[in-house]
C-alpha cells in the first residue's frame, strides 16, 4: 500500500509482530521531509501541521481516515436521522430484497438491514476501540516496566508475554468467552486478554533503547523513582509506536470479533455485530439473499483495511519524526 518498509505493523490478525527499529527502517535514498521545526523555536502547532501534512501525503491513509470518519457518523449519528425498529422482529418482512421501503433489504428476522448495519457497526467499533484502549494501556505499562527495570523482573514479565503469545488466540478466546455469560464487556475482556502481549513486547523494545538516553540518565541522577521515570520520560517518548500499535489493535480486534461471531460468540440479542450479521448471511448462502452476506462482509473487510491503512500513515509520520530526532 505504502512504500514504507514494514511487513508487520499494518497487518491485522497479526498478534506477534516483528519489531524492527523504526529509525533503522528509513529507506536509504528516501528523502526525509524537511523539518525546520525541529531546530527553530517553532510552536507545537507547527509540528502538528508538519505531521498532518506528512500523513496526508499518504493518499491511502488519508482516504481511509475520511472513510472511517464517515463510518463513525453512519453508525453513531445515522440512527438519529434514519429511524428503524431494531428490537421487535417483523417476520412478515423477513429476507426482503433491497427496495424503496428497505434500501438495503431485510434480514431473516425482518429487521431493516440499513438500520441493522448501523447497530452492528456500533458494537463492532466499540469493541475495536475498547480493546485497543485496554490492551494498549496495559500492554504499554507492562512492556515499559519490563524494559526499564530489566534483570529478573524483565525476564519474568517477558516469559509471561511469550507464554501468552504462544497460545493460539482464537482457542483461548473461545474458551474464555464460554466461561462466562455472553456480553459486550466479556467480549472486550476476552479479546484484550489475547491482544495486550504484542503491545507489551513492542513497548519493551522501545523502552530498552530509550532508557540509555541522556535525559533518562539525568532524571535518574536527580533521584527520580523508577515508576515516575517510566511515566514521565519513557512512556511519553514512545508515544509514536504506541499510537501506531493502537490502530493495529483496533483492526485486529474487529477481525477477531468477526471470527468469534462465527464460533457462536457475540452480543446477546436484540443487539448484533457485523460478524453476527455475516453469520446470518452465511446460513442463508444458498437462498441467494446476497445482501445479507455481502453488506456485513464488505463492511468488516473495509473497516479492517481502513484502520490498518491509517496505522500505515501514522507509522510513516513516526518513522520520519524519529529520523529527524524529534522523538
Amino acid at each position: 500500500m505504502t512504500d514504507g518498509p514494514r511487513a508487520d505493523e499494518s497487518t491485522p490478525a497479526l498478534l506477534a509482530g516483528v519489531t524492527t527499529s523504526p529509525a533503522a527502517a528509513v529507506l536509504p535514498g528516501t528523502p526525509l521531509m524537511e523539518l525546520p521545526g525541529s531546530e527553530g523555536g517553532s510552536s507545537r502547532w507547527h509540528k502538528w501541521r508538519l505531521d498532518a501534512a506528512l500523513f496526508a501525503s499518504n493518499r491511502m491513509a488519508l482516504v481511509s481516515l475520511v472513510f472511517l470518519v464517515a463510518l463513525l457518523l453512519f453508525c453513531f449519528v445515522g440512527p438519529f436521522l434514519y429511524r428503524t425498529t431494531q428490537t421487535a422482529t417483523t417476520l412478515l418482512n423477513a429476507n426482503l430484497a433491497p427496495s424503496g421501503q428497505f434500501p438495503l433489504g431485510t434480514d431473516p428476522e425482518g429487521f431493516n438491514l440499513l438500520g441493522r448495519l448501523m447497530l452492528g457497526g456500533q458494537s463492532t467499533i466499540e469493541v475495536g476501540f475498547a480493546v485497543a484502549v485496554f490492551s494498549t494501556g496495559f500492554g504499554a505499562l507492562w512492556g515499559a516496566v519490563a524494559g526499564y527495570v530489566g534483570g529478573i523482573v524483565d525476564a519474568v514479565l517477558m516469559r509471561v508475554v511469550d507464554t501468552a503469545l504462544s497460545i493460539p488466540y482464537l482457542f483461548l478466546a473461545v474458551l474464555l468467552a464460554t466461561l462466562f455469560s455472553p456480553s459486550l464487556s466479556l467480549i472486550v475482556l476476552t479479546i484484550t486478554a489475547v491482544s495486550w502481549p504484542s503491545t507489551a513486547r513492542i513497548v519493551r523494545g522501545e523502552t530498552l533503547s530509550l532508557r540509555t538516553r541522556d535525559y533518562v540518565t539525568a532524571a535518574r541522577g536527580f533521584g527520580g523513582r523508577a515508576l515516575g521515570l517510566v511515566g514521565r520520560h519513557v512512556m511519553p517518548n514512545s508515544i509514536g509506536s504506541i499510537v501506531v500499535n493502537f490502530t493495529l489493535r483496533v483492526a485486529t480486534a474487529i477481525f477477531i470479533f468477526a471470527l468469534l461471531a462465527y464460533l457462536g460468540l457475540g452480543v446477546p440479542p436484540p443487539g448484533t455485530s457485523w460478524g453476527q450479521m455475516l453469520q446470518q448471511g452465511i446460513t442463508h448462502l444458498y437462498d441467494n439473499y446476497w445482501w445479507e452476506l455481502w453488506l456485513p462482509g464488505v463492511a468488516i473487510v473495509l473497516a479492517v483495511i481502513a484502520v490498518s491503512a491509517v496505522g500505515d500513515g501514522l507509522y510513516d509520520v513516526v518513522v520520519k519524526r524519529q529520523a529527524a530526532g524529534r522523538g
Binding site: 511487513a7 498478534l15 506477534a16 529507506l27 482464537l170 471470527l259 452465511i282 452476506l293 473487510v301 483495511i305
Partner: protein, 313 residues
Amino acid sequence: MVGYIVRRLLQALIVLLLVTVIVFILLHALPGGLIRAQLGAKASKFEVHQLTIQEGLTKPLPVQYGIWLSNLLHGNLGFAYKQETPVLTLIGETFPRTLVLAGSGLFLAALFAVPLGALQGSRRNSLMDYGVSGFLLTTYSTPYQLLGVLLIFVFAVQLNVLPGTATNFGQGFGTDVRVLALPVLALFLGNVAYFSRYVRSSVIDSFGEDYVRTARAKGASKMRILVRHVLRNSLLPFVSAVGLSLPTLVSGTLVIEVLFNYPGMGTYFWHAQQDRTYPLVLGILLVVTVLVVVGNLLADLAYAALDPRIRYD
C-alpha cells in the same frame, strides 16, 4: 552457539511450564466446577461429594497441580466423558490431520510469498505491486469464514469441481487432496499477505545495501542480483517470521476446520466446547500451544544455524 541453544531451550521450557499453569487455572475456573461439568446439573450432592474426593479436589491447589502435571507428563490428559475415550487418544487421532492442514497452508503461503514479494519489491510502486498488494491485503483482512464460504460457493456450488466439505478426509490420498483443496486454499489466502509483505519490504531494504550496489557496478544482471544477493539475504529474517506467524495460522485453522467440518483438533475443540467436555477442550488448548512453542523454537534454532554473522553468546 551452544550457550544460545541451551538458553533458548530453557526459555521454551519455562513457557511450556507457564502454559500448564494457565491451563490448570482455567480448569479450576470452570463454571460450576469440573465435577458439575462431568456429572451434569442433575447430579445429587452425594455424587458430587464422592467424585470430588475421588478426583483429589479436596487437596491443596499446589498439590493438585503437582499431581495433574505428573499425570500430564505420563501422557494422561484426562478422560473425555462425552466420547468415553481418553483425551490423549482423541488428540492422537486429530493432531496429524490438523498438522496436515496447517502445514500445507503454511508451506504454500511461504512458498508463493517469496516470488510474489520479490517481484513486488523489485518493481516497487508499479501497477503490479499495487494490484498484488491490494488483492492480498483484501484476502488477509477478510474473516476466514467469509473466505471459506466464497470458495465453497464458487468451486463447490457454481463450478462443482471440488467438495465443499472435508468430512470425508482419510479415504486415500487422491480424495484427501481434493477434500483438502478448499480448506488449504482458504488458509493460504488468509495468510499469504503476512509473508509476501515481509519478503517485499525485506527485498526493498536489501536493494539499498552496499553489496547490491557493488554487484550492480560489476555489471551483474538484475535477475542475478535479485536471486544471488537480495533474496539470499532477505530470506533469513523470513525464517523467524514463519515462527511468529504460527499462533495466527493455528487460530485460522480453528475457523476453517469448523467451516469445512474437517475432523481435526479445531473441530473437536469447538464441539467439546459446545458440550462442555472440558478435559478435551483444555487438552487441545495445551497441545496447540505446545505446537506453537516448538515451532517457534525450531524457527529460532534454524535462524541461528543459518546465519553465520550472528553469534549468540
